[in-house]
Symmetry: C2
Subunit: 137 residues, 2 copies
DNA sequence: CCGAATCCGGAAAGATACTG
DNA sequence: CAGTATCTTTCCGGATTCGG
């Protein structure tokens, strides 16, 4: 990693270069992974095909809007497929694609690490929080 | 957050249970990992001890404020240590802790996956984007 | 039943000036 | 050099409503 080049000292000056060759795609994944709902949805979808309402029921506090947005983003990135059946009470099924499934591994890694360090983080936080106004009144 | 108060018709049912036992700590990690700057900073810190200015120089477009916030959050979570020397031109060093270093593995996994799927995602996006207004002209 | 569009409030990012 | 205080702006997320 270590992208290195700050690029600030470019003679052209004031060039707001944002082009970091090797992490262009990383940002996207970060966005998905950092998203509050995406992870939940992917996890639910990992179990199999799900319908819209079903997902909304499965994911605790998600709103209809957020579910739609989340699914659309995932679909756009080719992580899930959307199959709509033109039945009378419209019915749409969502399913993870190959990429989507491989992403679950990443999510697992995230969850594993989190579970592994959750205690330490909680402690560190408590300590930090207490330290803040430790001596003073 | 505040899932509960839709205010109006709350017909006893549809209890907005938010208690997800196995992902309490995950959210925190997600926040850090999903953060635009945190990852960059951690990567730079992975190489060794760094000073404030140094980090700012190393990370392309970050502002003092964002760097400060990012570092403070990391410090709070026990991922980095802050060591300040009371010299005349104040001097502070930041260093990754054990947890911090272990987090780099997670970041690496993230980067690896991203790099591996970046192409597919780009394609999927292009396709999706084109499909949107495909037929017409 | 699915989901698109709209309105709105609050939180976080961002830039800058200023202080120790 | 390091960090805070202040202001601005941007974006996320929820509620609502209309259409297929």
């Amino acid at each position: 990693m270590s992208v290195g080049h700050t690029g600030v000292t470019t003679p052209a000056a004031t060039t707001p270069v944002v082009s970091c060759a090797e992490e262009c795609g990383v940002r996207d994944v970060q966005d998905r992974l950092g998203d509050k709902w995406t992870v939940h949805v992917v996890v639910e979808l990992a179990a199999g095909v799900r319908r819209f309402r079903e997902l909304q029921r499965l994911v605790p506090g998600i709103s209809q809007r957020m579910l739609t947005l989340t699914l659309r983003r995932l679909e756009r990135d080719g992580l899930v497929t959307r199959t709509g059946y033109p039945t009378v009470p419209a019915q749409v099924e969502y399913e993870l694609t190959g990429s989507g499934h491989s992403m679950t591994h990443l999510i697992k890694a995230l969850v594993d690490w989190s579970l592994d360090h959750r205690g330490a983080i909680a402690e560190a936080r408590a300590a930090y929080d207490a330290r803040g106004r430790g001596g003073g009144a």
